[in-house]
Structure formats: structure tokens, C-alpha cells
């Protein structure tokens, strides 16, 4: 046996939190919040994902290099989203040139 052994209680508490958050996100989706619906839904999803990554996937007790890899991966995902959205959002900003 080696490394950090997480108590069963901790795992069950995380599971209960995730289940409650699932119910909350389903319930909130039935409220009329306009543009905030998607913000709340994504905020809850990110919270759930963070709990799974930190506790179930043990990242909280992993060595710093592993944590760095994970953060770097997220950065690449952000690059994917940022550049793609920048492309679409900026379409039509420049007038069409004569030569190109």
C-alpha cells in the first residue's frame, strides 16, 4: 500500500454532492433566467468536473508535475475555443479587398 488512501466517507460525500448538483442543474433549467441559464448550467458542470478530477481522479494528492500536465491540457482546450470563436466572431469585420 502506498500513497494517500482516501477515506470512504470522503468519496461518499463527493458522490452525494455530485448527485445534489445534478438535481440542482436539472431544476434550474426549468426556471426562466434568460442568458443566465447557460451560465448557471456550465458553472455547475465545471464544479462537478472539478470535484471528480480533484477527488475521484486523485489530482489533489498527485505530484505537482501531473497537476501541471492537467493545467496545460486545459490551456490547450482554451486555445481551441478562443481561436475558433475569434474566427467566427470576427467574420465580416474587414471589407473584401480588390486584389485578395
Amino acid at each position: 500500500m502506498e500513497g494517500h488512501v482516501t477515506p470512504v466517507k470522503t468519496y461518499v460525500a463527493i458522490w452525494a454532492t455530485l448527485t445534489v448538483l445534478t438535481a440542482v442543474t436539472a431544476a434550474v433549467s426549468l426556471l426562466e433566467l434568460g442568458p443566465w441559464n447557460i451560465v448557471v448550467a456550465l458553472a455547475i458542470a465545471f464544479t462537478k468536473a472539478t470535484l471528480v478530477v480533484m477527488f475521484f481522479m486523485h489530482l489533489k494528492w498527485s505530484n505537482p508535475l501531473t497537476k501541471l500536465f492537467f493545467v496545460a491540457g486545459l490551456l490547450w482546450l482554451i486555445i481551441l475555443f478562443a481561436l475558433t470563436l475569434a474566427d467566427y466572431q470576427s467574420r465580416g469585420w474587414l471589407p473584401r479587398g480588390k486584389w485578395w
Binding site: T6, V8, T19, A41, F81
Partner: protein, 227 residues
């Protein structure tokens, strides 16, 4: 390496046969495996990320058409599936913990519980896919949309629905195969408290597949319910 008694390394630490000698310590060996699996999962995040950005772009362009599809999404089955997967992540985390403690029987039962919950998820998915087929919501096969205003662009959402949940389901099926491999290995006594790395690594994979669904559920099932 048939010697199964503990060897004493030059630097004086005893270890069992689980340590491969291109590593200095069992801890380093385990960290190496963990880093490798995380790297693979990052490539998977980029793979699904491409599908999520596609969803984002088209949702931005055709929001009303996307929102009009929400009444065809089975919120109850989707919600149950989310709870089922979260439960399977609990049993998987407990299985890895049992592996750490060398509790072979607990490992086997918790892995089987994880497999059963995964099978429930896939069964419910099958029911949903059948529902979509019967309601003529399969783009390119039997597409017929009631609301003529959105008949064309709603196809994009349904296409993304099938591709994203389909790729997720394929990952679940592969996961079931990996879990079966672990069950068989556990029954044969391959894993001990000193070496349970495959259980740990496949656990990471399983949690990742759960996380993908955690994002799929709100985006596909919970959009536009207030309209």
C-alpha cells in the same frame, strides 16, 4: 526476474518484484504510469473539445432551432443516466481504494458494480436512440421535423447529439471491456496492495468518461426548457 523474494537495491531500499528496474522506486514507477494516462486523457479532452466547440459555434448561430429540440430530449432518462454514471464513478473510486489496500474481494465486487451501472447507462441510451428513431429525428436517415421554421437547422443539433453521445457510448463500451479485463485479472490474483496500477489507470479513464457526460447532459438535454 523469477526471484520473488524482496531484493535490496544498491541504495538500500527493499522492494518486491513489481518494480521494473528502469525505475528507481515503486513511487516513481507509479507516477510515470499516472503521468502517461493523464497525457492520454488530455488528448481525449482535445478530441471531445472539438465536438464541444462545434456545438458552441452552431448553438450561437441557430439558438432558436437548437432550443426547439429540447422537448424531444428525454430529461428523465438523461437525468437518470447522469446519476447512474456518477454512481459508477463512486464504485470505481472505491475499487481503486480497495486495490490500494489489497482487498481483493472488494475490488472484484466494486468493479462488477461499476460494470453493471455502465451497462444500465448504455441500455438507457439504447432506449433513447430508439425513441429518436421512432420520432423521425435521425438526420440523414428518417429526418422529419414538425416545426417547419427550424426543420433545417435543428438537424445540426440532432447530428451533434448522435455524434457526441455516440462517441461517448463507444468510450463507455471500451471502458466496459477494460473493466472486464480488470475483473478477470483480480480473480486471478494479479493485483496486490503493492501493485494495482491497471485498476488505478483504468479508473482515471472511467472518471474522464463520466466528466464528458457531466458536460453533455446540460448542453444537450437542458437547453431551452423555459421556452
Amino acid at each position: 526476474m523469477a526471484d520473488t523474494t524482496a531484493e535490496v537495491l544498491q541504495h538500500g531500499q527493499a522492494h518486491g518484484p513489481e518494480l521494473l528496474h528502469h525505475f528507481e522506486t515503486p513511487e516513481q514507477q507509479k507516477e510515470s504510469a499516472t503521468l502517461g494516462m493523464w497525457t492520454f486523457l488530455l488528448t481525449e479532452i482535445m478530441f471531445f473539445g472539438g465536438l464541444f466547440i462545434a456545438y458552441t459555434v452552431y448553438r450561437g448561430m441557430y439558438y432558436d432551432a437548437f432550443a426547439s429540440t429540447s422537448k424531444y430530449m428525454n430529461l428523465v432518462l438523461g437525468g437518470i443516466n447522469t446519476a447512474v454514471l456518477i454512481g459508477s464513478s463512486l464504485t470505481m473510486a472505491l475499487a481503486v481504494r480497495a486495490g490500494q489496500l489489497g482487498l481483493r474481494k472488494a475490488v472484484i465486487w466494486l468493479l462488477i458494480a461499476t460494470m453493471l451501472l455502465g451497462a444500465v447507462f448504455l441500455g438507457i441510451k439504447g432506449v433513447e436512440y430508439h425513441e429518436k428513431w421512432v420520432e423521425h429525428l435521425v438526420p440523414g436517415f428518417n429526418w422529419h421535423y414538425e416545426d417547419a421554421r427550424y426543420a433545417h437547422y435543428a438537424q445540426i443539433l440532432l447530428f451533434l447529439y448522435f455524434v457526441m453521445t455516440g462517441m461517448h457510448a463507444i468510450h463507455m463500451i471500451v471502458g466496459e471491456g477494460l473493466l472486464l479485463y480488470l475483473v478477470i485479472g483480480s480473480v486471478r490474483g494479479r493485483f496486490t496492495g503493492l501493485w494495482y496500477t491497471p485498476i488505478d489507470m483504468i479508473g482515471l479513464y472511467w472518471h474522464f468518461v463520466d466528466i464528458v457526460w457531466i458536460f453533455l447532459f446540460p448542453l444537450l438535454y437542458l437547453i431551452g426548457h423555459t421556452h
